[in-house]
Symmetry: C2
Subunit: 163 residues, 2 copies
């Protein structure tokens, strides 16, 4: 079963920035990474006028683009998908799934917190919080990493889920 | 097994346009449609600067975006995927897969041909050609549909693969 680790945090806490640093560190350790971005507002990925966009506009439920280097897919769904469903439906050939968001899931979470933005955390240990990446001090009984210590966090994730 | 029908044709013959007409007709008949666009040159779908784009740039092999209405996925691969693989890996909850391209596959094919562009066809019956959509006359022993007869083609596809 491919492990899932959620990077959570309040708005503008720096989740994407941390994930951007974490991915190369996990790759350096030899792991293939998948990410999931949770977008509760909806999103637009395809470009107007492209053939795949035209297929979708015409009413296709699922549109795939396939090339020798890359596959892309856009699918209509009727409800928010669970991480376990996304893993089952779409994920193969990777070692770990890192999510941005999904604070409501039961998967292990690392919270990002920046003093400049928020003094309090979103999660407690009851939320399956396993670490914090922060420039503040928290006494929670879980490891606190510096916001820039992606290398340390990657080793922590390796130790906990990949060995 | 979800049936696969390939819409093939020479360059600029009108494949996308036909597919755009075919999808709503298949939907009217009650079917859920997936499409695959074969892109041998590679493509760009995500938008620069978006969080998912940043995950991908940072080195994620697979990036997913999930919302209550839509799922999107971009994955790096090392070779061109077969249609059967795409079906197995990604497709569920649809009744038929329509492809744009894949003239080299062994799946049933409908060729689009416009006089204005090309006088000859790409396929013969040996290529598993099952119909032609055209404004020309061809004697091939397979049904010829008018370029605009998406309704007729949808019924033909229904009869052959969905009943």
């Amino acid at each position: 079963m491919i492990p899932i680790v959620c990077i959570v945090g309040k708005s503008k806490s720096g989740k994407t920035t941390l994930i951007e640093k974490l991915i190369p560190e996990l790759k350096k350790l030899g792991y293939r990474v998948a990410t999931v971005k949770h977008d509760t507002h909806g999103f637009e990925v395809d470009k107007e006028g492209k053939d795949s966009w035209r297929h979708k506009q015409a009413g296709a439920k699922l549109v795939m683009l396939s090339s020798p280097k890359k596959i892309a897919l856009i699918e209509d769904v009727e409800r928010d998908s669970k991480l376990e469903e996304l893993r089952e439906w779409f994920v193969k050939d990777v070692d770990i799934i890192i999510t941005e968001g999904y604070k409501g899931s039961s998967h292990p979470k690392i919270e990002v917190s920046r003093k400049e933005r928020h003094a309090e955390l979103l999660c407690t240990r009851d939320d399956n919080l396993i670490a914090v990446a922060t420039d503040q001090k928290f006494e929670l009984g879980v490891p606190c990493f510096d916001l820039n210590d992606a290398k340390g966090l990657a080793s922590f994730i390796e130790e906990k889920f990949l060995k």
